[in-house]
Amino acid sequence: MLQAAVYSNQIVGLEDYFQSNPKVAYHFLIVDGKTRHDLRPYDLLIVPNGTDQIAVGRLKRDIHAFLDAGKTVFCFDGWFTDWVPGNQWVMDNSRKTINIRYTVRSDRHGLFDGISVEDFTFLHGMSGWWACGYINPAPAADVVLEDTWGRAIIVLDEHTTPGTLLLTASGPLGDSSYGLTDNAGTFASLARFYHRLLDRLVIPTPVS
């Protein structure tokens, strides 16, 4: 079973997205801008949508040590502070959401195999609902998903650190898509994509 740490700033509904199940046990680590946590017991660190990016920024060295140990970090949030090695999210509202379309650019792990990209683009016929802004990716990172204008929306970076970074341009993902959308197709696609990330990107620590 994977052991996942989830940073929590105690926003409403957060724990509904990450309910432990036979595949993964979730452990919520409360962030408050001061407290540090021992990340060594975990295979995966999740920075969910709506996280306290001030607190996470102050935990930068601990996160880098986690990555240096070959572990995996998922960030499904708009990280305006500078804690992600090599990659930076930037907010932007210069493009109209009605024109947003996503396409898969580089998917060496088959993360989107059998998953509808349309469900990331549209909700109830409205486009641009899922992510905001874009990512300036590290030079060696894979841009998995790009938008209409070729800007990075999902980035997989297996080169900048010894670990693995999976980043979305603030697009929310969770073990259950509870609360993200009431559209059944979108619900299924987002949850399937998240589980694909768990299956193909996270290496469980061997139990001795």
Partner: protein
């Protein structure tokens, strides 16, 4: 100047850093909230996705601020541990204007309230995050949904004016996916501090990729 209680959430940050609003709102990191941080402020906004546990631990500061005759504007969810009201979650409908445009999530609004004066119905409600099933005795109801549940209310019981709504104007405006929110947020801002925001909702690249200390400066 309005204090914006900040839980480190990106949409709270982008709102406060937007060119249109940055001179009128000051981010106050919720874990740093103390009496000194509130000095000189005319109003406080507690946005959606706030840390209710941290707020509860500092609730005396909020009520001291109200007792000084100031305004406090609470958005989205809240907790009965610091607010004398009961908030309950409800499914969010943010596509009603596509599927059922004649049936918005708010069915009745008091358009005589200064925040709502001159607003069209679609500007007065985009979507709601839950509802209030109990509000303080004597509070005025400003908005309700079709089920008669309270969406927005206010009270002068604590000295100043406490306004609460399950709308999420700051967070949603920071997200920038709804283009008409200037109407609501500009009226809200003018009511809170007496100044009407001007200019465009634009971002500066220099506000991204910064240290936490720079983000709070």
């Amino acid at each position: 100047m309005i204090g914006l209680i900040f839980n480190g959430v990106w949409s709270q940050y982008t709102f406060a850093r937007a060119a249109k609003y940055r001179a009128l709102y000051r981010l106050i990191y919720v874990h740093d909230l103390d009496a000194t941080q509130l000095e000189g402020l005319e109003a406080l906004v507690i946005p959606f996705q706030s840390n209710q546990v941290a707020l509860s631990a500092r609730k005396e500061l909020i009520y001291d601020f109200l007792a000084a005759g100031k305004k406090v504007f609470v958005e989205g969810d809240s907790s009965a541990s610091w607010l004398d009201a009961r908030w309950e979650d409800r499914p969010v409908n943010n596509y009603w204007w596509v599927t059922d445009p004649d049936n918005p999530p708010v069915s009745a609004t008091d358009y005589t309230h200064p925040v709502y004066q001159g607003l069209k119905p679609r500007h007065a409600c985009w979507h709601t995050h839950g509802a209030y099933t109990r509000i303080p005795e004597g509070a005025e109801i400003v908005q309700t949904n079709a089920a008669g549940e309270v969406i927005s209310w206010q009270t002068g019981t604590y000295g100043g004016t406490l306004f609460a709504t399950t709308l999420d104007p700051v967070v949603e405006h920071g997200i920038q996916q709804i283009t008409h929110l200037d109407n609501y947020v500009d009226r809200m801002t003018a009511w809170l501090c007496g100044k009407t925001p001007a200019g465009e909702f634009t971002f500066a690249a220099a506000d991204f990729g910064v240290t936490p200390e720079r983000a709070l400066a």
